[in-house]
Symmetry: C2
Subunit: 332 residues, 2 copies
């Protein structure tokens, strides 16, 4: 069977993860990478063509992709690139700005529908797998609300968004932020209380900050604690560390989460479902989910479907390499 | 919007659970029950018609069901009733004899395809939700095997099949069997060892047995421990108890499980996913999943689909009452 031709758009941590993931998903093949900085990427990647994203006629003709995996950021890259690319090629992305998903879906749906393409949006582990688990939990336990917790392990989970926010503060040279779930909040959900949480009730935030020379730690601390949305609503711990300590003890992109819902069945029997994931590398986890969705995109496109989709619109079998016979015999 | 008309076929613990579940899923309505013993059921249920399963022309005309939820057993009821009913009406069932699923799928697919109906087979929590989680885990972490563990809580999980097996032994008046997961086996999977287990490596079995008067406990114990498939491969504990103790301390149908898979992303980053469910009532949990699938069956039928399906073939959104707008805005 012919391999699904995959093009990576944007080569950061997620793009690198997609490249590695494609080596283990042998029904797909990487045909090339497009980037705003093709020279930089070409120094790192020499086995496939690296082309400028500004030359769509060229990369479409040279790479002939079945699916483009969009690995840019949700803040600036995807809202601009997504609808343009969805007019040219089938796409999948991990747009993760939850509050803007309806708007992004609409844009992508229009672009993909008009041009006859398939665009799967907002997949990864959250949004993505967790979205699926939330909807299933609510369908199987009517009335149950599903809650998401992050950073359940000892070290917590690295939040890229909050780390980036710290780095914008004057006097901060480098920083990383680890999120911790509050165990008592998890227990309240497990007990079926369906609690109404404020953001600060579910998580705490731990910051490891490298100061610029001469910066005032108290001023930096105050700025962090008062940052609206990011830190102000949370119990926040701040550690000032050396660059070396940050690079060795707090390196990598570990993350983990729990989606949990509880309620009752029948009249009064307790019911609880939980989905837990633990990732040594958050961007590689997102990449793996994106690659499985690229497989689904190719299949939806072969079926003549068009428009935007989410993980909620796609049967699980579409993500898998297993045949129907294998699934019925060994996976049911 | 018109409610989905649901008929229950077979009124045991799962059938009762479906009736209760339909009270909370108000887009569906119970239009009647068909049974091999309608008189018995009619003594318990007085608010909807109860008709004999042997009179299909009558129950189809009187009840006009959109979907039949088949609540019979997998050993004798479903293999006989399923293909007959799939020729008459859209169906959903919880056929759970894993090794015979390919054969049952084939029968149901032929019956449903020929008659233009939709038949969703083998759903509940395992097979069902766990099947879905196994396939997703393998798709998102290529190479990872997904393992199922049951009875993780202190009391373990009640196994109906093993309880029934105990009750067939001469000298046994009544009995209930609780399955326990072996924690070390779970840890081996969590560690990414992808171990090759024999059945006895994953679970132990605990039996609570009420003896007939004059029965020989040693002979009964020997028979239990030597029962092939059910108990011989397992570390088995046997407690002889009074009927009163069985009915009070070991009552109900609690069960719980864990589907877990571990592997790596990229070159060497650990990755682990787990799905955990804890049910106060196992048959009510199965019933809730069946009802959500009845909603999906009605939608597939409205789309003109036909043939047999499993949970792996159905998008998650089909199980839900949530609108696309609600899902995009609040559940992604």
């Amino acid at each position: 069977m012919q391999k699904i031709r995959v093009m990576i758009v944007g080569y950061g941590n997620v793009g690198r993860g997609v490249r590695l993931s494609l080596q283990k998903n042998t029904d797909l093949e990487l045909v090339g990478i497009v980037s705003r900085s093709p020279e930089r990427v070409a120094r790192e990647v020499t086995d496939v063509p690296v082309l400028p994203v500004s030359e769509p006629d060229r990369f479409l003709a040279e790479l002939r992709p079945d699916v483009a995996i969009l690995c840019g950021g949700s803040k600036n890259d995807l809202p601009a690139q997504g609808p343009v690319l969805a007019k040219l090629v089938n796409t999948v992305d991990s747009f993760d700005n939850h509050s803007r998903i309806p708007e992004y879906f609409k844009m992508m749906n229009e672009a993909a529908t008009q041009s006859g393409h398939v665009s799967v949006i907002s997949t990864g582990w959250d949004p993505g797998i967790f979205s699926l688990e939330r909807v299933l939990a609510n369908a199987f336990i009517p009335g149950a609300r599903a809650y998401g917790f992050y950073g359940l392990g000892e070290k917590g989970g690295l939040s890229m968004g909050h780390s980036d926010a710290l780095r914008t503060i004057p006097g901060v040279k480098d920083a990383r932020q680890f999120t911790h779930a509050i165990p008592a909040a998890i227990e309240a959900v497990r007990n079926g209380e369906n609690p109404a949480f404020e953001p600060g009730d579910m998580h705490t935030r731990e910051c490891f900050v490298v100061l610029e020379e001469g910066a005032d730690p108290e001023a930096v601390s105050r700025t962090i604690r008062e940052m609206p949305g990011y830190f102000a609503p949370y119990q926040t711990t701040i550690h000032f560390v050396s660059q070396e300590e940050l690079d060795t003890r707090y390196k990598g992109f570990p993350h983990d989460g729990l989606a949990v819902a509880a309620g009752v069945t029948g009249n009064d029997h307790t019911a609880r479902v939980e989905y837990r994931c633990v990732w040594g590398s958050n961007p590689e986890a997102t990449a793996n989910v994106l690659v499985a969705h690229a497989r689904a995109v190719a299949r939806l496109a072969r079926e003549g479907r068009r428009g935007a989709f989410t993980i909620l619109d796609i049967p699980a079998s579409y993500f898998s390499t297993l045949s129907r016979e294998e699934m019925l015999a060994h996976w049911m």
